[in-house]
Symmetry: C2
DNA sequence: CCTGAGTTTGAATCACCAGTCAACTCGGGT
DNA sequence: ACCCGAGTTGACTGGTGATTCAAACTCAGG
């Protein structure tokens, strides 16, 4: 059977996407050459173009592929927790670039910035971005709804609205942390997000933080 | 007089920076060629390199130059208002991409995204970015402090902390609006920012819309 | 009118890189 | 044993674009 061949083919496809994502986070989208990607997975440059129509297509696919990977990992991680509060708190922790070393959020955020820049001029990527970003806000809103359905949270502002606000806050702060801003460290971002989320949803932060 | 000569030189320098900024917002940093900039100010490509050491230096200078210009325009605009509340409300309106057509915030936000991407790998620009961004947060915090000093606002959370939260929220939402996200239009962003600022500082939003 | 420093041009140079292609490898089918 | 074709290679092509440079031009001051 051509199974082995096919399987190799599929592996390669994915392998190249991963390599591309790695190179993009390393060197930046603008500085990413086909040669770099080829080296990253130890093949010749020609092979990259054998599997992908063009460099541009590959790059766009790599960006969304990587984002998808990170999203799925996050969703899996959150699903282990029952309490909506724990889920929300965990989601925030997972979103802070560099807070939890095991989760490569630094890389992911760097990719987001690249996505934004390119989506400004690439309608196809713009569409993808909207889907990805909507999913991201949705996951916050869903936690809020879940907490309300179990009575853990009180009713209040529309859950989607909260998702948008908290999502935007996280985006904005993540940029600063990603940029290594001296005024906004990871722990600082974490604390502010926890505070705001408690405030938006209307619960008290017991652990150690008060206004 | 040698004055005219000198003045021409200075004019050209600035002229090129403006042209560069325009091209960058049009085509994007990655697609900006020296030729484009030259055409934009009706001059030969060689002249660009006569005034700037290299393309890279020019681009970085153009990014900060444009940002500076926008910041100063905003500061001038805000200074006309007395009430801290009006200032804050105006600052928000000015920050929403495309809300007030006279202020080219769409362009400015597009430049911000370019700055972020490049600052990830360019230490010099990274430093500039931090200064610019700090100034931006500061302007929010200053309004809060001003409002408190006149008794317009009650005391509460640290003003810098508020500046950081509101600044980040605006950043995050502005990205969505800039990207033409169907779920986050300009008016929606404006309303959310007004709500959150009222909430953070602790005043009521009576005048339904301070149009 | 000269002159020369400052300005401007555009052609030439140079490096780089996406994408092409002809040749080669090799596992599996016949 | 032989053939087929997917997979792989790496040299090559073509275009692009930053940077250089020598020549031309401008004009304030002598």
């Amino acid at each position: 059977m051509a199974r082995v061949r096919q399987k190799n083919g599929r592996d390669r496809h994915q392998e190249i996407l991963e390599a591309a994502a790695r190179v993009i986070t390393d060197r930046g989208l603008a500085e990413t050459r086909i040669q770099d990607i080829a080296e990253q997975c130890g093949v010749s440059p020609g092979l990259i173009l054998y599997y992908f129509e063009s460099k541009d297509r590959l790059l766009v696919e790599a960006l969304t592929y990587a984002n998808d990977k990170y999203y799925l990992a996050q969703a899996r991680d959150l699903r282990r927790l029952d309490s909506a509060r724990d889920q929300l708190s965990r989601l925030i922790d997972l979103s802070v670039p560099g807070l939890l070393p095991d989760f490569e959020r630094l890389e992911e955020w760097a990719l987001w910035v690249e996505i934004w820049v390119r989506a400004l001029r690439d309608p196809a990527l713009a569409k993808e971005r909207e889907v990805l970003e909507r999913r991201w806000r949705q996951s916050i809103a869903d936690i809020v709804r879940h907490g309300r359905s179990t009575g853990e949270f009180d009713d209040g502002e529309d859950a989607d609205e909260i998702g948008m606000k908290l999502g935007a806050l996280i985006d904005g702060l993540a940029i600063q942390v990603l940029m290594n801003d001296a005024q906004v460290g990871p722990e600082h971002m974490q604390r502010m997000c926890q505070e705001v989320s408690a405030n938006l949803i209307g619960f008290e932060l017991e652990p150690a933080a008060s206004s």
